[in-house]
Subunit: 922 residues, 2 copies
Amino acid sequence: MAKKTTARKTTKKAAKKTTHKAAPRAAAPTKPAKKAPAKRSPKAGKMVYYFGATRTEGDASMKQIIGGKGANLAEMTAIGLPVPPGFTITTEACAAYYQAGKRLPHGLMNEVHTHTATLEKEAGKRFGDKNNPLLVSVRSGAAVSMPGMMDTILNLGLNDESVEGLAKATGNRRFAFDAYRRLLNMFGDVVLGVDHHHFELAFDDLKQRYNAKLDTDVPENGIVELCERYKDVIKAQSLQDFPQNPFKQLELAIEAVFKSWNADRAISYRRLSGISGLKGTAVNVQSMVFGNMGDDSGTGVAFTRDPSTGRNVFYGEFLINAQGEDVVAGIRTPEHVNSMPKWNKKVYDQLIKIKHKLEKHYREMEDIEFTIERGKLYMLQTRTGKRTGAAAVKIACDMVKERLITEKEALLRIPAGDLTQLLLPSFDPKAKTIATVLAKGLPASPGAAVGRPAFTADEAVNRARAGEKVILVRKETSPEDVDGMHSAVGILTSTGGMTSHAAVVARGWGKCCVAGAGEVAIDAKSGTFTVKGRTFGRQDMISLDGSTGEVIEGSLATVEPTLSGDFAKVMRWADKYRTLGVRTNADTPADAQRARDFGAQGIGLTRTEHMFFEGDRIRAMREMILAENREDREKALEKLLPHQREDFVGIFRAMKGLPVTVRLLDPPLHEFLPNDDKSQEEMAAVLRVPVAKIKARVAALHEANPMLGHRGCRLAVTYPEILKMQVRAIVEATIECAAERVKAMPEIMVPLVGTRAELAMLRQQIEDTIAEVKNEMDYKSRLDIKIGTMIEIPRAALTADEIAEVADFFSFGTNDLTQLTFGYSRDDINTFLPDYLQQDLLPNDPFQSLDVSGVGQLVEMGTQKGRAAKPDLKVGICGEHGGDPASVHFCHAVGMDYVSCSPFRVPIARLAAAQAAIRDGK
Amino acid sequence: MAKKTTARKTTKKAAKKTTHKAAPRAAAPTKPAKKAPAKRSPKAGKMVYYFGATRTEGDASMKQIIGGKGANLAEMTAIGLPVPPGFTITTEACAAYYQAGKRLPHGLMNEVHTHTATLEKEAGKRFGDKNNPLLVSVRSGAAVSMPGMMDTILNLGLNDESVEGLAKATGNRRFAFDAYRRLLNMFGDVVLGVDHHHFELAFDDLKQRYNAKLDTDVPENGIVELCERYKDVIKAQSLQDFPQNPFKQLELAIEAVFKSWNADRAISYRRLSGISGLKGTAVNVQSMVFGNMGDDSGTGVAFTRDPSTGRNVFYGEFLINAQGEDVVAGIRTPEHVNSMPKWNKKVYDQLIKIKHKLEKHYREMEDIEFTIERGKLYMLQTRTGKRTGAAAVKIACDMVKERLITEKEALLRIPAGDLTQLLLPSFDPKAKTIATVLAKGLPASPGAAVGRPAFTADEAVNRARAGEKVILVRKETSPEDVDGMHSAVGILTSTGGMTSHAAVVARGWGKCCVAGAGEVAIDAKSGTFTVKGRTFGRQDMISLDGSTGEVIEGSLATVEPTLSGDFAKVMRWADKYRTLGVRTNADTPADAQRARDFGAQGIGLTRTEHMFFEGDRIRAMREMILAENREDREKALEKLLPHQREDFVGIFRAMKGLPVTVRLLDPPLHEFLPNDDKSQEEMAAVLRVPVAKIKARVAALHEANPMLGHRGCRLAVTYPEILKMQVRAIVEATIECAAERVKAMPEIMVPLVGTRAELAMLRQQIEDTIAEVKNEMDYKSRLDIKIGTMIEIPRAALTADEIAEVADFFSFGTNDLTQLTFGYSRDDINTFLPDYLQQDLLPNDPFQSLDVSGVGQLVEMGTQKGRAAKPDLKVGICGEHGGDPASVHFCHAVGMDYVSCSPFRVPIARLAAAQAAIRDGK
């Protein structure tokens, strides 16, 4: 139970992860988070910072030294909020612990003793006292909050003597021993490594003997007995006694917190979240307050605004007569904070005041924890509240309206990547009217997920790796499950509330989650779940609606999102501050139009190969490939010309007045031929050629490494007639558009250039063709068609100065550039990438976020060399990194003119570009 | 006829090609040949240089300005040799001609007029004079001699009037008109573009009417008539009259020479020979002398030493009463110069004196042309004589002995690449005793070639491109055939002598050639040749012995070469001057021993994968690959361990005391599994597993781009047990060798590293394994095993500073580095490389000679960054470029410690390294 109950706290620490990710990491991904200017400068060698009425030594700016939790406890104390006093051991002490080969640094425990003495004085209680003992909680807390580390040990300071002291002081012996058994359980589990189920077995056995259903049904004697049993369990399992000396308890607990910094789960979380460069974790030692001292006591968690929608309403849950952990224990259903006035109006009003004070002070939406001990309110935690993308947008806009923050601050507050959540499709309401809703849980994290159930984290990871879309279906999730949650497209739990582990983590990642769908009975062993008498297995498709909490049978259709006015406002602000252009990668008029609606300032990449796969076209394309001489190739190409021209006309119309970069044919020709016998026979019948001819051509075109083969501009070198047809189509379309007063602005982009000679020769052929078509069509006006190249071959970046002489623009194709710079085939990387990430050999998938030190070096070199040779060279990027916020920051820093990304990522790129410019001081 | 007769001169110009190639090109491949310090500085704007008794304005140092031929004519004139006077138009004038859009530069013809006036004065004859006309020859001649350009127009200055003047002056009207018809033919063909066969038809027709068998049988009247007919041919074919004005003739001839600079054949020759950076061709205008003025006249060509063997004997051929062209016309067999004293002792003695003078003056083996006009000797040309590799070695050594040149000069004189000829196998004498010799021709260029006949140059190119070994079988070869000759492994002609086109070009390339095998009757149309009544076609294998001139039936066995004392001497000198180490790539004890015999100072690359293909090993290897868990993999690897250990013991013994760099397993695992059904079934039977399991594993291991897939150190990351087995084998072998007092010096090389993290982790595993094995074997002495990495991934070069921190050495794997830097798959490049070379998009195959500006940039960057991080980092190269002379020069310039190449290229690398050091001034 103790373990379960820690889950929520453990994971709520993930709250600031995304903020962190979008902020300093983007600018310099491998560097530690930038410190805010410190209000107080930390004292060299000082390892413990006090907070309380006596004095407060830390503040909110000192997260790097005393961790996020410690910094905020100090800050709240300083601004006069009711915080139980305590002290924080620094992250530097943790680093020193590891440097010394896992030994507590010299002098640390002396400092701890001194600060404990202050605490005793302030509380008027003594540590280990047999009359009125001081009890403390011990919690970890790094600069960036993260699950996976040891969380909390409560009631530390109790032993066989002081438990009687607590009984005296509180007049409640059952309460005192209940506190002691909780300590024994947590300490045994977390510090001494005794598996939790040993304690559970002992408790179950006891309950049976006392005929008790719930923990609370066990009488005082039973709890006293339970403490003895727990001490036996500890002795039997860990071969040591539970330490009776409170300072020994404290020392061991501090060391356990330090150790948990490098637990597998913590390392894994840091890797998944791209967190690096931190010193270690701080340790918070704080005097205990109790929410479980009777019906005038209670505990709760709340957000100062709604973290799902961003609406400015107080949002939270509380439980009467409970400790913090109980809120998510699932034993009792917590009440909404709205109902608190009925219970204690005074405390409620105080809480609302504190909420206002905190928002005003931090100028942020805060996530708080509080406890009421015998009618007195204590604040135990505040931190920046985690929120969905939609909430981030609304809160940022509202706070500007409320004059809490500036536009620039508002822009920096919205994690650019989280905009995806606003742009992703939701389920089609029409489809929903006829859908079978299997169950309804809590709308824990919005989104629309469709996939097949996986019942363990490992299963989810493995099946996702194999390319399957899976929904992780669990009774509840825990920090061990984060890998599986990350791999799944959606998460469904049968227990837990809006603030459960699954809900909090999923919201942080913008991943769809339905929590606490109690009707869903899960049998993980058999790999099924049953709902309303029907059983579903690994092969059954289900749909989750994270905005309604519905679990739906089958694969539901989705529709495009509609965007709020706040979204548009954020985009306007972004455009005001950014200096980097944003274009889109679009191959069809529909994509072009969508991207334009999303604010794209042009097309950075139109791939022409997709245009050859439909209907008649593939036939002509295949005729061209089978042709044995140039003449026959030209005949086939003539059939393709009108199609290609119409493709361009459509795109030019959609992008009227904006530049459209058209990339010439890129993939190897064998991609257009069928590989299997049956399709080859069909093709033979259609084209009226012998199958043998097709097979021979397929064999002739076979390549050992097609990625490094006959493709890109190499095709244009051997088959200039293909290039000519494409350029002709572009020019004819441009002139056709001009006739209907549509200003087309094509830019012709040559792919896979590795040498100046290639581009020089092909540029000449392009210019000749343009002149030829202009002449034929008797077009007299100027045609300003830029001719440039992809920089996607390392050699092109290395010799960019030479290539720039014959290029009007560069566009970095960072997909291929990453493949070649690393020697990684994107199609094959899955055989080893998981091992590389697992073993920390790579900080992340270099195809998702640009590898700054390797690939980035080539991008920077290519840009600088190119501009040195041609100062007005236009430089952009059209790899998928163009829509990755960290990579956008890099592109800004390198001085590119624009990034180009898929239509849905255009808003993300606009925001990321603005953030880069603001951070850059422009 | 005229065209044919120009062949020899055209192609003998190839003589200096190889010297050129090995010298300045190697240091900076794209730069023009370095000028020798000029004795005279060329005058700005001067376009014509005179040579003669009046004055001589050029000298041998001015090849860049007045071409090789012009420079040497001036030099010979200056040292008092009998050279007919004339003048040379500069290469700069040619460049100006192209810059002006193919117009003769302003003022050029004025200068030509002035110099012609000087020439007239000196000769006492006037241009176009009707009594005693001045006649001139016009010849092209660039700084580097090259076939493919327009060669010679003789007798220029003749017209309908001056032909009578020549008749009067010589008292021989038939001779005068014969000179005129030669001019008409050459001028019509070369300047006016009239196809040669029109003249041939006219001549044949005339001969028939005069009942003449040979040209010489036609009487004076007939020749006079022929001149009229030739003028008609010119008029009919070119639609213009033959220009009667001698200056018009000269102007058109000069322009024709300029144009020929960019003829396809000339461009193609420059490309094939790696010649670039020249300004253009010079034009030599020289007063005519006649070797065909009777039996006291004659003409010849000779080498000052034997160009095949290098022996110091006068070596050449001459013809009485003939013009230069007739020597190779095949009409009359030339006589050896040895027999000249019988004909004219005085001229012979004078020629021998001149030979000595030239060798002393040029300190080189010279290739000369001479003409005797009515008993008076004239020198028409001298240049460095082309020679075989063996001759180059012998001549260099002899000239050092004769104190003509220094050791350093001797080393620079031997084209490093030509050493291959000395190292290549020859036919096994035992095999020859039972071989069927089909025919015997001239031993025109030594070597042993085995292949199938190709009958046209195109056919040879195409079949060679498809991977076949072909022997080009031609009646004779011409400059149009150079591509085909280059593609063939050997050349066989049925006509032509030792100085024929085929012979000269083949010797220059070190390609086996048998010339003038008259018994061989070739039917190119049917694709057969007949000899001794037997007919051979495209499918019949034949062998050519270029050292004996034998044409042998079938495929003859070959034996290793034996090396001369001179070769050893050159190698000793090379070792004295070079600073770059030379290692070898060797995977077996036999290869290691051979390389050591050739002077390798260690092994730079031992590939371990080849070791797993034999007998039992492949079985264990396959068991390992099929294993489903680490334990089973380890079991299979245990079976491989003893084999691997013995491999290393063998190599360590062979290289006793020298370093041996062992590369860990590199290729993807699927290379060890069979792909076809039958082999898979066999494997299943042997391993006793279901075929389905093998098929499944093959499918699972399939990769879209294996070159960029799961290989190299990526295997060690996922299967650390493979690395451990290999390191264990190395360490056990080292300790085993130590027991038998063999000092093994292994260096462990990790392939395909792209990040510091990879190497850091694997280095730790390697060090741990070394320590483990040492401990197990209770070996107390120090084991100094270096651990380093290949630099073959662009990212590794870019981040070499990081990687160097965990590496003891770098070895540039320029094969893979070239693949990735260009994005070229070596296995697939043949689909487009020919087009790239054809269209001059690449100067050469980057897998043969290192691409300095792209790949070289990474090599230089990697070396500098690596050394900056670790100054004592050992740096070498183990790609195939390690044995390419130009690349060796680059490696020297970059400051590498060593190059490593295949055993047979070790001597080449040693010589190239010495040349680089000497040029570098060390």
